[in-house]
Symmetry: C5
Subunit: 89 residues, 5 copies
């Protein structure tokens, strides 16, 4: 998993049926967890707000671990970090 | 998922049988979502046009989430972004 | 998927039994589809020749989409590009 | 798999139910095994301590190989390196 | 798949039970197949020796293709290259 900050969200009205009901958040990984310019779009079932530090799972873990096995989802916010360590910015 | 702009398409006449009927679009990720020179080919079941901003799922999510579990597909356009935020270019 | 040019092939006599019968081609992604020095080895069931532009699927799509679910294969040539667009070199 | 050093941990109180009970460790890959700024969060069922060199499995292997098939986990510490070779720093 | 040279091995006494019996080799991808500092740890069921050029499968292909579906393995040596082409160093 990686840790990132929620920086915004996007809306898609015209999308696959099996994506309906999901929120699409833009997450910027903390700098020690990825290079620059590697933001991703992750669904959010936890209720993360903009600016919060979150734990993001990617790949098949996002679908299967979030009970959305048959949806085209490859990244999901799965936790909110309580108290981000210093180095995580 | 990542957000990208559809920049073109390619045609493949000689291909695996289980790819027949799919459109292959070239998608350029927005700059904050990938480094340079990381365009990908994604199938399109949504009807995205060239120049549109789209949501792309990659990996097993593209096959399984698009009802093409047994096709050799690792990227799919799964939504069209309504109103791309400023930073997404 | 990515588009690349077939640049050569390799032979492996001592290999896992479930790889027997596959051809291993070296594919160089087009520059807009990957950084430098990111060539890969992909199996070829299409009959691609050296110098041809091909469509390559990676990850579980290569195994499952090519009817080789139980083989250790993570990349496959799944189509030959008819008429590569200008930008693809 | 990659080898990395455990550099810390994070706590997430508000998280998906199927993550409860896991420890989330921050692992910094050794320099020959990844570029800079590519630390990851991995669950730990082995009992690795901060500063230890560990073997980390990523992707579906982390879920399925750790008996957590339905949890949103994409990286796991699966072993502790006995005696790290010189080059691994 | 990628081609790499076996550069060493590591031992892990304290590890997950379902990893027992596997050898963990360090493989350095050939320069045209990856950037610098991207060595990986792969299991070896072929009997590759240090210095040999090998074919490595990654992701779910390593587990499923090597008959280790339930082990936390994401890379495996699956063949030894007979006669590495010139460019592969």
């Amino acid at each position: 998993m990686i840790i990132g900050k929620v920086t915004g969200s996007v809306v898609s009205t015209r999308k696959q049926d099996n994506l309906v009901g999901n929120k699409f958040m833009i997450v910027e990984p903390v700098s020690i967890m990825n290079g620059e310019n590697k933001q991703i779009v992750a669904i959010d079932n936890i209720g993360a707000g903009i600016g919060e530090m979150v734990l993001v799972a990617t790949g098949s873990a996002a679908r299967i671990g979030c009970n959305l096995e048959y949806a085209p989802i490859d990244a999901a916010i799965v936790g909110i970090i309580d108290d981000p360590p210093q180095g995580l910015k």
